[in-house]
């Protein structure tokens, strides 16, 4: 599964994307984020406050309960600031 990071999530994690095997028992976005937080202090710091994390799966906004498939492209990013 491809996981992309943008803006300060990317700078805190230290890279723009990961290729991840969905661990057994992880079925939704919340589970993926919990898993990512275990990968290192940068991940943990970037993802600990879910109020500042937005999620897109295959280019569409989804909630934390969204079910994931192994072929999904998941993106994690802070609230947008364009315009």
């Amino acid at each position: 599964m491809k996981v992309l990071y943008f803006a300060w999530l990317r700078t805190r994690i230290g890279k723009p994307e990961d290729a991840i095997e969905l661990p057994k028992g992880v079925g939704d976005v919340r589970g993926l984020i919990d898993h990512l937080r275990g990968l290192g202090p940068g991940y943990d710091q970037a993802l600990k406050d879910l109020k500042t994390v937005r999620v897109a799966v295959n280019h569409e906004y989804v909630g934390f309960d969204h079910r994931l498939k192994p072929t999904d492209e998941v993106a994690l990013f802070p609230p947008v600031t364009g315009g």
């Binding site: 992309l4 943008f6 803006a7 300060w8 700078t11 897109a56 280019h59 569409e60 906004y61 993106a75 990013f77 802070p78 609230p79 947008v80 600031t81 364009g82 315009g83």
Partner: protein
């Protein structure tokens, strides 16, 4: 129509193109967003707009389609730039053409309000304190909420 591009755009040419050969358009409303040199209290030197290629286009197209569903528009256009921009540079253009000016005004405002809260762009400002990611503004969420359809509202 939507475009995501690094290059600058010419608002006059874009407005003219929107109405070219048309004789049924009463008015065109446009909003041009510019880089300001003050965000909060810090002076900005320049900023870099990051985006999410693929999703950004898809979300802008969805916002544009929604505006065309809600209002009787003859034409609409959203252009959003990415990359490094300096104070005074154009960032975004929203333009809506309609036989009736109220529809054009409402649709333009809807488009800019919605893209501020829905379009995947992030601003990294160069400030005297160093590079800082701009925080989302609560006022933008409030502005966008104006357009949320109430389930019990008559349409």
């Amino acid at each position: 129509m939507i475009r995501v591009q690094r290059e600058d755009f010419d608002p006059g040419r874009e407005i003219a193109r929107l109405t070219e050969g048309r004789r049924d358009i009463g008015g065109v409303v446009s909003f041009v967003g510019l880089v300001r040199d003050m965000a909060g209290d810090a002076k900005i030197g320049a900023m870099t707009l990051e985006h999410y290629p693929g999703m950004t286009e898809k979300q802008l197209a969805a916002i544009d389609a929604e505006a065309n569903r809600r209002w009787p528009l003859a034409a609409s256009l959203v252009i959003h730039r990415y990359g490094r921009l300096e104070p005074g540079d154009r960032i975004v253009l929203v333009a809506t053409a309609s036989p009736h000016r109220d529809a054009a005004f409402d649709a333009s405002r809807f488009l800019i309000d919605w893209l501020k809260t829905r379009a995947p762009f992030w601003k990294l400002e160069e400030t005297p304190r160093g590079a800082e990611w701009v925080e989302a503004k609560a006022s933008d969420d409030i502005a966008a909420a104006r357009w949320r359809k109430k389930p019990d509202a008559a349409e």
